[in-house]
């Protein structure tokens, strides 16, 4: 009998495994025990829907896929010397291979990052010529931003590789070999400043070795250069969101304010810095080891941002408070896997990836699970906690192990004054910060509601103790 049940259970489990397609490839980090974080399998928030190869677009080849931008109903892909423009259905509108500047037709050199601005303009980096090309809404070449006057570079060429443009037309350019930070260029093409430099971090040991080096040694040893940014975007509030290139960054994702300091929000617990994978192997001969290397970033209007980890080919989504929403993807040649992604953008309900390893443009579609999570985050962004709670309930139905959803429901309960229930939900969501808020309210309410009884109790206890003392003293005197 027992064995029979076991077999049935196993068969059921096997069935479950077959119904969930990319189970192991999508997960979310959960709290288990004391500040212990582990990846818990989750449903896929996005599912692979289509791949496009070069011939689908009428393009030459996809071996140099580099930059991607989505905006104004069009998708812009830079690939080698061609700028491919398609609509959202991926029907090719135009392929630009040359521009006419000052009456002179120029063949394009290898293009890099693209930005589609809200006014319909498209900004394309052309590193070899050291300029950022601007196209108008009819895809006609308009002008170019060259290396701005007053920007001093020593012995290195200005090679813009990624660009983002804010609502007033200021350009934020990530250029290779520039270590001072993001180059901010005014709309008229003049140099504004360097922006948000990544600080060099050195340890005590580094300083010690440096101190005992001779001048000759110091001259030949490696210079300490700050790392640059690998990608950037402008989020819904107009802030620059950028990913730091390289490993072992304390804060690999930065939201830069006007001063250039990082104002990215994340939970108070230091383990929850948005940084990609938190559960990593430090060693591995054939598998990637070490922390994530984030190479792409894109943000929605409601504060959720997606980052791409080039090391393990995973996509991470965080909400505006820095809580991890989901992870999916994985490296490999199969469907829904990535080989070498150079850029990623959000296109409505879809996510578009440029995979120059598999020479294709990969399109992922949101599942109902992912839709519920993102809708909840959007409601939360708009402070509509009740609507968010409805979506979070859906998420819990899909995946009861998704801890952050419980926090979301708890927030709605908390805001509607049902703090006792909220406390339970925050507890289930393992969210100590919100739990403390709700708990404090409940404690306050309890003390306020029962103040008379507590007060009377204390008085009674004190009186009883005094009486006991008096009686004992009296008895002792009696005996003596």
């Amino acid at each position: 009998m027992r064995r029979w049940i076991k077999t049935m259970a196993l068969a059921l489990f096997a069935c479950l495994l077959t119904v969930l397609p990319v189970r192991a490839e999508s997960y979310v980090y959960s709290f288990g025990g004391e500040r212990f974080i582990f990846p818990a399998p989750s449903l896929p928030p996005y599912r692979h829907s289509r791949s496009y190869i070069a011939s689908d677009f009428g393009a030459e080849d996809f071996s140099k896929l580099s930059g991607l931008a989505v905006g104004g109903g069009n998708v812009f892909i830079s690939c080698g010397k061609q700028l491919i423009i398609t609509d959202y259905a991926f029907k090719t509108q135009r392929i630009v291979t040359s521009v006419t500047e000052d009456g002179e037709e120029q063949e394009l050199t290898d293009l890099a990052g693209i930005w589609a601005a809200d006014d319909g303009r498209v900004y394309v980096c052309e590193p070899l010529r050291g300029r950022v090309l601007v196209f108008d809404e009819n895809f006609e070449f308009e002008s170019a931003f060259y290396k701005p006057e007053g920007m001093v570079l020593e012995n290195v060429a200005y090679r813009p590789s990624k660009v983002a443009v804010d609502s007033v037309g200021r350009l934020y350019v990530v250029a290779s070999n520039v270590y001072e930070g993001i180059v901010e260029i005014n709309a008229d093409g003049s140099f504004s400043r360097y922006f948000g430099q990544v600080k060099v971090v050195y340890t005590v040991m580094d300083l010690f070795w440096r101190a005992i080096q001779s001048a000759a040694q110091r001259a030949t040893s490696m210079t300490w250069l700050p790392v640059n940014f690998s990608n950037l975007t402008i989020d819904g509030d107009g802030f620059v969101l950028a990913t730091v290139a390289g490993e072992n960054e304390e804060e690999p994702i930065r939201k830069l304010n006007a001063k250039g300091t990082n104002i990215l929000r994340y939970p108070k617990d230091p383990d929850f810095v948005p940084m990609g994978d938190m559960w990593i192997n430090s060693f591995g001969a054939t598998v990637p080891a070490g922390p994530s290397i984030l190479t792409s970033i894109d943000s929605t209007d409601y504060g959720v941002y997606f980052v791409f980890d080039a090391k393990r080919s995973h996509v991470f989504a965080y909400d505006e408070d820095g809580y991890l929403l989901f992870v999916f993807g994985g490296s490999g040649a199969g469907k829904g896997k990535f080989q070498n992604v150079s850029d990623m953008r959000i296109m409505g309900d879809k996510l578009v990836f440029l995979d120059k390893g598999s020479l294709s443009v990969e399109v992922f579609e949101m599942t109902e699970f992912g839709r519920a999570i993102l809708a909840a985050s959007e409601h939360q962004h708009n402070s509509d906690f009740t609507a968010a709670a409805g979506e979070w309930e859906k998420v819990i139905d899909y995946n009861p192990h998704f801890q952050y959803a419980y926090t979301g429901v708890g927030k709605a309960l908390y805001h509607s004054g049902r703090t006792a229930e909220a406390e339970e939900y925050f507890k289930t969501g393992r969210n100590v910060d919100y739990f403390s808020l709700a708990f404090q309210k409940n404690r306050q309410r309890f003390i306020a509601g029962n103040f008379t009884w507590i007060f009377v109790g204390i008085i009674a206890l004190t009186a009883a103790y005094a009486a006991y003392k008096a009686v004992r003293k009296w008895k002792r005197r009696e005996r003596a």
Binding site: F31, G33, E34, R35, K427, T428, R430, V432, D433, F435, S436, L437, F439, Q440, R443
Partner: protein, 216 residues
């Protein structure tokens, strides 16, 4: 005045430990030479230590432990083993070190010292568990204070007790602490070695049985 049962319990579990802890040097001396230490008190303390370990695991407030499992299952034998084994290890280690370097304390004395040093720690731990259920994350330090202070006090009394029962000088005692730690490591090492050897032996026998079964 004849002592009632309650009187004896109050004497052993309240007055004696408080006497020892309020004047540790004289107290531990009396414990050893005036035979004021009670083995059943020590056993009770170890039992309470197990209880406190289990309660810490189950009843510490969420704001402090960050741990929440609706159907939290803990293995009581495992927790007890993991609490009692270190105690045994310490007593064995300390006794083996001191008995070859003119320490005057017996294993029983060491057990008694350990138990009386545990007394304040247990009280503080229970208070800490209680408090941890009434604090927020920011106030969690209040609860943690009890746990940490309890441990500090425990080591403090343990050290003084050992100094007194072994009749060591201060620096000799510091050396003893290091030696004890070393001895504990050696014991663990030998035990691990022994366990792996036993396992190998077991595998050997199992393989032979398996082989015989395949042949028959």
């Amino acid at each position: 005045m004849e002592k009632t049962r309650a009187g004896v319990i109050a004497e052993n579990f309240l007055r004696t430990p408080l006497y020892i802890l309020s004047r540790p040097f004289k107290g531990f001396y009396d414990m050893k030479y005036l035979r004021r230490g009670r083995t059943h008190f020590a056993v009770a303390m170890l039992a309470l230590l197990c209880l406190s370990a289990i309660m810490e695991e189950t009843y510490t407030g969420f704001a402090v432990s960050w741990e929440y499992e609706p159907d939290h299952i803990i293995s009581v034998p495992y927790v007890m083993l993991m609490t009692l084994l270190p105690v045994l290890l310490f007593i064995a280690g300390n006794w083996s070190v001191t008995s070859i370097s003119e320490g005057k304390g017996t294993a029983r004395d060491i057990l008694h010292v350990y138990a009386y040093a545990l007394y304040p720690k247990l009280i503080l731990t229970f208070i800490g568990i209680l408090v941890s259920n009434f604090v927020t994350k920011e106030e969690g330090a209040f609860a943690v204070f009890f746990f940490v202070f309890g441990t500090v006090v425990f080591y403090f009394y343990l050290f003084i007790g050992l100094v007194v029962i072994h009749e060591y000088s201060f620096f000799r005692s510091l050396l003893m602490v290091l030696q004890t730690i070393f001895a504990m490591l050696v014991i663990i090492f030998v035990l691990a070695l022994f366990a792996s050897l036993v396992n190998e032996l077991r595998m050997f026998v199992v393989t032979i049985i398996y082989e015989l079964r395949m042949r028959s």
